[in-house]
Every structure is written in C-alpha cells, then in structure tokens.
Amino acid sequence: MPSWFMPQASTSAVEIDNLILMITVIVGVWFVAAELVFFWLIWKFRARDGVRAQYVAGEAKSEKKWVSYPHYAVLVFDILILIFALRVWNNIKISAPPGEERVRIIAQQWAWTFQHAGPDNILDTADDIRTVEDMYVQVNRTYHFELHSKDVVHSFSVPAFRLKQDAVPGRAINGWFTATQTGTFDVQCAEICGIGHGLMPAHLHVRTAAEHQAWMAEVAGTGAAPAEAADMGTGEVLAHADTARVQMGAMQ
Amino acid sequence: MSSSKPIATTRSVMNLPTGRLALWWVIASEIVIFGGLLGSYIMFRLSHDAWAEQAAITSTLAGATNTFILLTSSLSAVLAHQAAERGDGPRAAKMLRLTVLGGLGFLIVKSIEWTGEIQHGYTITSNLFWSFYYTAAGLHGLHVIAGMICMLIVARAAARNQELQRVEIVGLYWHFVDVVWIFLFPLLYIAK
C-alpha cells in the first residue's frame, strides 16, 4: 500500500512493501471473517418476542472448540507473519551487503549535515564533501552510512526508500541502502526534536554514475561545501516557521 | 465521614488482616521503584569501570555504622510488635519511639557523611556515580523519614492501647526500609 503513494526507490522498499502486502492479506482475511461472524450473530440472534436466549456456558469442549480452533489458527498465522517479518528485518537491519560507498549523516536541531566520502571513498579525509540539507548518492550502489546526532534524538527517514533510523546523541549508528531509482526524494526527521521538528527536511538526490561523478568533480573544484550547518536559534526557527506560514497563506 | 470503620475494612476473605495485605502491595510497588533505580545503576556500573574509584571514596565506615544502626532499630520494631501482640500498648509505643531514635541516628550519620563529601566537592552533579549515590540514598532517606513519621503516629495511638494492629504493619514497613538499605550499602559503598 505504501506504493500507492510513494515510489519504491530502494531495494528494501520492495521487500518491505511485500511484507506489508502479506500481512494485509492475512489479517485482512481474519478481520473480515471476524466482523462477518460478529454482524451475522447480531442479526441472527436479535431479540424476538417469545424466543428465549439459550444457556451456553462455553466451558464444555464441544462448545469451546468454536473459539479454540480459530485461536490455534491465529497462532499458526502469527508464526507465518513472524518468519517473513524477521527475514525482512534481518536483511535490512542486521546483515548488510558490503558497502561500496560511505557517507556520514549528522543531525542537529534543526538541520542535516551530510559528509560524503568523496572520490577516495574514505571518510575524514581532505576530499570529503560536506553538504547541508542535500545528500547526493549514486543509483544502484550500496551505501553504508553512519548516523550521528549532536544534541537530541532525531530520526533519519527516507520514505521512498522505506528507510528509517533514529539518530541518538553519543552513539554512531550504522545502516545501509541501495537506491534503485534516480530522482530527488524527501528526507524527513521522524522523531520529535523540538520546535523546528516540522521544519527539518532534506533532499536526497539519486543520480546516475556519470551525473554523480560530474557533481563530485564540480564541488571538489570549489572546495568542500560549508563545514558546519548553520546553527539556527529558536528565534530564527520561529521566524522561519512564520515565513512559511505567510507564504502558504499568500498562496491560498 | 463515619466514626466506625466500614464493613469492607473488617472483612478478611483471604484470612489476612486487610492492613497487612495492603502493606504487602505498598512494598511490592516500592520494590519496583527501587528495582528500576538500582537496575539502571547496575547497568551503568557494568559499563563504567571507572566508577570503582568513585565508590572507593565513599565512607564504608559511615555506611557500615548506618547498617548497624538500622538493623538494631529493626530489632526494637520487632519488640514493639511482640508487645502489641501481648496487648501491652505503652511498651509497644516505647519500643516504636526507640526505633524512631534509631532512624534519627541513621539520618545524623548520613548528614555528617554527606556534609563531608560535599565539602570535598563530590556533589550530585559531579558525575553519574555521585548522581546515583545521592539519588538512591536520598530516596531511601525519604523512606526512613516517612517511616519515622508513621511510627510516631502509630506510637501515639498505641500508648493509649488503640489500633495495636498497626504496630506490626509499621514494623513491616520499617523492615522493608531496612532491606532496601541492605541492597544499597554493598552497591554504593562496597562494590569497588
């Protein structure tokens, strides 16, 4: 269902969407069955003059089987869901494929800084490329990222990739992704991080190898982009928010 | 508000006095509170070896003295209970007041100890070990004070031979406060 709204722009996206589809089918069938029985009973046993209710304790085996058999079946379906869910989980969060590219993502109130490894593909060297609010990756390459936060908990979320990972101050959290479509995708901050939480977007630009190389050459020529994200104070963010609102208002 | 107790209070379907039953639940909920605090402390302690040096600074002597005082005061709480069983309210009251004295001794030692430590610059914000040290011991200290207040109230009624069943309950609570200390002492003072 997410694919109704959102491109499937990474390898994980397909896997997660399939899992969601499978769960939808299983619990959907159960849900519909339960509701059908439910409404049917209400209809069938509506009060009628002269018809008395029956005395059914539900303790006898012959009666109880009506709930215990479905109940065992739920257990079986739970196990089915579990197997698929854990497989997807394992592929996405536990066993990462070898990384071909490296990038460091730093969150802070309320901006994203991206430290791309640059041509030498090693972080913390002179050719690293730092950008703020724009991340540049190459399509069909496996990226390993390292997620940091400078202040509070944030969450790095790329819906089109079905990728989400909290950034926790004091920890470096590793993850990976492989983009499968070119384009520009939204990055959200998905964990409340204070006043500017709603204003903490970034853009993920996925490009072909050639375009990506060209971009690297270009920024390498200009020297690394700004070293630090501008620290926005509370007042500035509020001003920012108000501007956004005024603009929205003006559009309507 | 009626003067006599509701019937609900006097029933005892479980064959346990209602007051004691309630006290067990109080203690159960307190155990989870202290459990949460000490559990967090232990988790940290395991990953911060450096805390051993901090723990070495604490005064094992003061801690041991306090352990001794508290254990002794539990004894007088037991004696108070025995007296109450025999229906000897005034003696129960005396024993309870003795227990309160023990609590007071505990607090005095504690304040001398803390004054020294604070003067040496070890305050609650010095580092995480001291934060835990003061928080856990402080929370326990509050329980000591609460226990003392309850005992004084119970003792006043007991002296007049009223509500003697409360002597046992307040004594049980005091034992609990004692046991918490038995956990705190090794964790904060000894585990170096």
């Binding site: 339960a34 709930v67 996405i92 926790v168 004091g170 | 988790m43 995480l128």
Partner: protein, 583 residues
C-alpha cells in the same frame, strides 16, 4: 467468613446525619462520591483534550489560518498542544474514568460491601490526582508555555530547557505525571486489597464480575510497570532541575535508558486502560444478550496472559531507536504472541452472542461498537509488531491511527457503554434513548471518518508531530486526507453536546429508575438506585456466578447473584456458604 463476622456486619450499620455539601461532595470518603469526582474531573479533562485536538487538527487541515477560538498555531504551540493532548487523554481521561471512576463506583457495589477497604486512602488518592490535573493544566500559562516534547518525553530533548525551550513546562509536566502515578498507586492498592479481602460472603474468585477482575488486573499491571518509570522520572527531573546527567550522553548518561523505562511502563499501560474497557463490555454484552458469558474462565485467563506478556514487548516501540537489532527480533516474537490471548478474548466475546436474545439499547450499541472498532486497532498492531514493516510505519500516522483505533474505543466508546449502562444506578434515573442513539451514530461514524483517512495518510508517509507539511513536497498530495479527517472531527465534536445535554438533563429530569431496570444479575443492582451511603440496606450474600442468564427451567431469564437458591429460605440469620480463604 466466620459466623461471628457476619453477626458483626449485621449490626455494623451506622446512622448518618446529613453531612452538608462540603462533607458530602468535596471531602467525602464514600466510594461513589469519589468515583463521581474522578468521572467529572475526567470529563472536564476530556473537553480540554478535545479542544487541543480541535485546534491542532484545524492547523493541519488549513495550515497558517487562524483557528476560530484559538488563533494562529505556530510550531511551539503545535508541539505543546499535541503533547498535552496525548498526556491528558491517556493520564487524565482514560485512567481516571476507566479505572478510578468505574473502579471506585463499581468495586464495592459489585463485591457487596459498603465501601472500599481504605476510604481515607481513597480520598487522598483523588486529592493527589486533582492536584496533578491542576499542575498539568497550569503549564499552559507558565513562561515558555506547556511542554512540547511529546507524551513520551524523550531526553535529551526533555532534559534540558536549552533544547526544549520550556523551562517551566517540562518539569511541571513531569511533576504532574509523577503525582498522577502516586495517586493511581494508592488507588490501585485499595482496589486490589478490597477485591481480595472484602468480597461478600459466598463470593468465590470466579463469582467476581469480569469488570472487577479487569480493573484489579489493570491495577496490578500498573503497579508492576510504573515503578521503574517513577525512578526514571525522578532521574529526569534531577536532570532538568539540578543538572545531573542520567540521560545526557556527554556525562556518560544514556538517552535510550529513558526509552526503556518509559516503554516498560508505556506498553503495559495500554493494556491497563484496555482491560477495564473490555470488562465493561463483558457486563453490557451479557445483559443485553441475556446470555451467560461464553467461557468465563477463559476470559480471565486470557486477561492474565495478556497482562504477563505485556511486560515483555516494550521494545517494539524502539525497533529503530538504535537498540541492538537482534534484540528487536526477540521483541517481534513476543509482540506477535500477545495477539494470541487478545484474539481469543475477542472470539469469546463474539461467541457470547451466540444463542442470545440481543436487544440493541444504547449501552449495547456502544459495547458492540467497541468490539467492531477495536478489532481494527488490534489487527493494525500486527503491522507494527512485524519489525520489518515497522521500519516504514514507525512514527507515521499509521501508528497514530492504530492507537486511536484502540484508545478511542477504550476511552470513549467503552466509557459511553459503561456510563449509559450504569447511569440508572449512579443517578437513579434513565438517560434518553433517542438522544443516546443519535449521539452513538454521530460519534461512531465520524470517528471512522477521522481515522481511516489518517491510516491512508500514514501509509502515504505522513509522519507525526509535524505542524505544517509544506516542507515535504512528496506529502503534498495527502492534504485532502488531512482535511477529511479534520472535518470529520468537527462533526464528531458537534455530536458531543447531545451527550452532555442528555447526561446532565437526565441526571435531574430523566425517567426514574428502579433498582434493577436492566434485569441484571450483579450485586450493584441489588442496591437501591442511587445507592445510599453504605450501599445495601442488608449486606448481600452471594450464591452463584454473575452471568446466570436464561437458565433453563426458571421463569425469569435472570438470576441475581444474591437471590438464594429456591430451596433456601431467607428468614432467620443467613448461614452463608462457606468461602474458604485463599481459594
């Protein structure tokens, strides 16, 4: 219960002089009055919680426009509003109404005693609760405004005013929450003790009505889970006020520790509010189907199983919070397992209707709606419990719609079922059926129209706690869904005055109710409507379980718990069936 005790009870009745308004309503130790105090406080808080929703949902549907009755909503205000909405609805509406109000009103009545075991403790519990409500409400007016770090209050954001910009709001919110916990600990101890020790003679463990079981279990789950969070809250308060660093990574502290402490409580907490609601539904469904509860013991066992398992699932809220991913796998397993007892419980309820004679009076409509709606909330929990899928759904409106499909049925649908059902007992009068049905349909239809669009918005990537989505071009197409939800909310709100009018009008003007208007079995209906101080003119003795409806061979289709079997005569001192202690 010895014969001596019964003799004692027989003359244990005290006379009452008229105690005056203050003593009677404000300083009372009567469990019914305290129950009403909780109810009215909870209702008032529900209106505040509802107002905050109205304001921030208007902002979401029409960003940047002035909200009638409030004004412009900026980012700071938005965060405060949602935080207060979440905390108020959970801690100051669902908890007091479902547990404290119904618990206080029903437990002594249903157990056949005259009050709680500790009436003064009960009063203290309400007073602390009231204080906590006042503290949390006052944070709207302090410098910096109300806390805006979400009801989960994750540090470091919540730990330092430098990050959250609410130097007063954050600690006061925390203090209010701690006070609320203390109030419910005291109340819970009272409930559990009363249910264990003060049952009417003859009432065995499995003669206790389900709703009492559920409230007592809920109190126990609360007691067992809240302790670590109380400790954590003290630690967080110290971080905020005196600068300790328990949750501050720069001093060696760990922000994730709070998340564990919070969710170790937070997950069981959802079952703490769920259980009383399903208890209410059990009472209503049996009465209005004229049916014995299908497999009474199974319901108790599933509730017990749910309670126990609920302590082992908390990290499903933290799958992607930076915990060890292998640990997340374990919590996926436990989370899916918890669906098994809850599924069984739902099946049992559905089966209860089999062979019944179902009358769709207002309380029954609410009870049935509870089951129908809760199923949606329940099955969507499976999507979230499956860790692989939660990577996408975490912190989207899908989660939000999931838990509103559980919370709303619990806090409102369940409450309305209980209120309309026990109203005659509470106030000695009937509510109006027509108004009740209008309110029912208006509320239930509008409720679905709010949250089905939000499920879709969540699946489409809308994430939570965003005051203005204009920064995210991918989400622009979801604006119509947000607007539908808001408009449906306005409709829902428009139907609430119907309830409030019906409630307060019927309190004074409704048709007079007899002692047992629904022909129900449980003991509260043996007392006059409304019950006087002391509840029962004659303390009842229990002879059978609570759900003996439509017993074959009897003329009446109900058989109250306190009515002696046909072969027992009631004059002379009643020799109660011996209730062995400890069962």
């Amino acid at each position: 219960m010895s014969a001596h005790a019964i003799a004692h009870e027989a003359h244990g009745h005290h006379e009452h002089a008229d105690p005056g308004f203050f003593r009677k309503y404000l300083w009372s130790t009567d469990h019914k009055v305290i129950g009403m105090q909780y109810l009215f406080t909870g209702m008032f808080m529900a209106i505040i919680g509802g107002f905050t929703v109205y304001v921030f949902r208007m902002q979401l549907a029409f960003p940047g426009e002035s909200v009638p009755g409030y004004g412009y909503v900026n980012a700071t205000a938005y965060n405060s509003l949602i935080t207060m909405h979440g905390s108020i609805m959970v801690f100051w509406v669902a908890m007091p109404v479902l547990i404290a109000s119904f618990g206080n009103f029903l437990i002594p009545l249903m157990l056949g005693c005259d009050d709680m075991a500790f009436p003064k403790l009960n009063r203290l519990s309400y007073q602390i609760f009231l204080l906590s409500a006042l503290v949390v409400l006052s944070t709207f007016f302090v410098p910096g405004g109300a806390f805006g770090g979400a009801w989960t209050s994750y540090p470091p954001l919540s730990a330092s005013a430098a990050y959250n910009a609410t130097p007063w709001g954050a600690p006061m919110w925390l203090i209010a929450v701690i006070l609320e916990f203390v109030a419910f600990l005291l109340g819970g101890i009272n409930f559990v003790t009363t249910a264990m020790n003060s049952r009417a003679p003859g009432m065995k463990m499995f003669d206790v009505p389900i709703v009492v079981w559920m409230i007592v279990l809920a109190s126990l789950v609360f007691m067992g889970s809240v302790g670590p969070l109380v400790a954590g809250a003290i630690m967080l308060l110290f971080d905020q006020l005196i600068g300790t660093g328990f949750f501050n990574p720069n001093t060696g502290g760990d922000p994730i520790l709070w998340q564990h402490l919070f969710w170790f409580f937070g997950h069981p907490e959802v079952y703490v509010v769920l259980l009383p609601a399903v208890g209410i539904v059990a009472e209503v469904m049996t009465v209005f189907s004229r049916k014995k509860l299908f497999a009474y013991r199974t319901v108790v066992y599933t509730a017990l199983a749910t309670s126990v398992i609920s302590f082992f699932v908390w990290a499903h809220h933290q799958f992607i919070a930076g915990i060890d991913p292998r640990m997340a796998g374990i919590f996926t397993v436990t989370t899916l397992i918890i669906s098994v007892p809850i599924a069984e419980m739902m099946f049992v309820y559905i089966a209860t209707m089999y062979g019944g004679s179902i009358r769709l009076a207002t309380p029954m409509l609410w009870a049935l709606a509870f089951i129908a709606e809760f199923l949606i909330g329940g099955v969507t929990g499976i999507f979230l419990g499956a860790s692989g899928a939660d990577v996408y759904f975490h912190d989207t409106y899908f989660v939000l719609a999931h838990f509103h499909y559980t919370f709303f049925p619990i806090a409102f649908i369940g409450t309305f079922a209980g209120l309309t059902y026990w109203f005659p007992k509470m106030f000695g009068r009937h509510m109006n059926e027509t108004l009740g049905k209008i309110h029912f349909w208006g509320t239930v239809v509008a409720f679905n129209a709010i949250f089905i669009p939000l499920f879709l918005a969540g699946a489409g990537g809308d994430h939570r706690r965003i005051f203005d989505y204009s920064a995210f071009p991918e989400l622009a197409s979801l604006q119509p869904l947000r607007q539908i939800a808001t408009i449906a909310l306005l409709v829902l709100i428009a139907f609430q005055p119907v309830f409030l009018f019906n409630f307060f009008y019927s309190m004074f003007r409704g048709k007079r109710a007899t002692a047992n208007p629904w022909h129900a079995n449980t003991l509260e209906w043996a007392a006059p409507s409304p019950p006087p101080h002391g509840n029962f003119p004659e303390m009842p003795v229990v002879y059978r379980g609570p759900y003996e409806y439509s017993v074959e061979g009897r003329e009446d289709d109900y058989w109250p718990q306190h009515v002696p079997p046909d072969d027992v005569t009631v004059d002379g001192p009643v020799e109660a069936p011996v209730a062995a202690g400890g069962h």
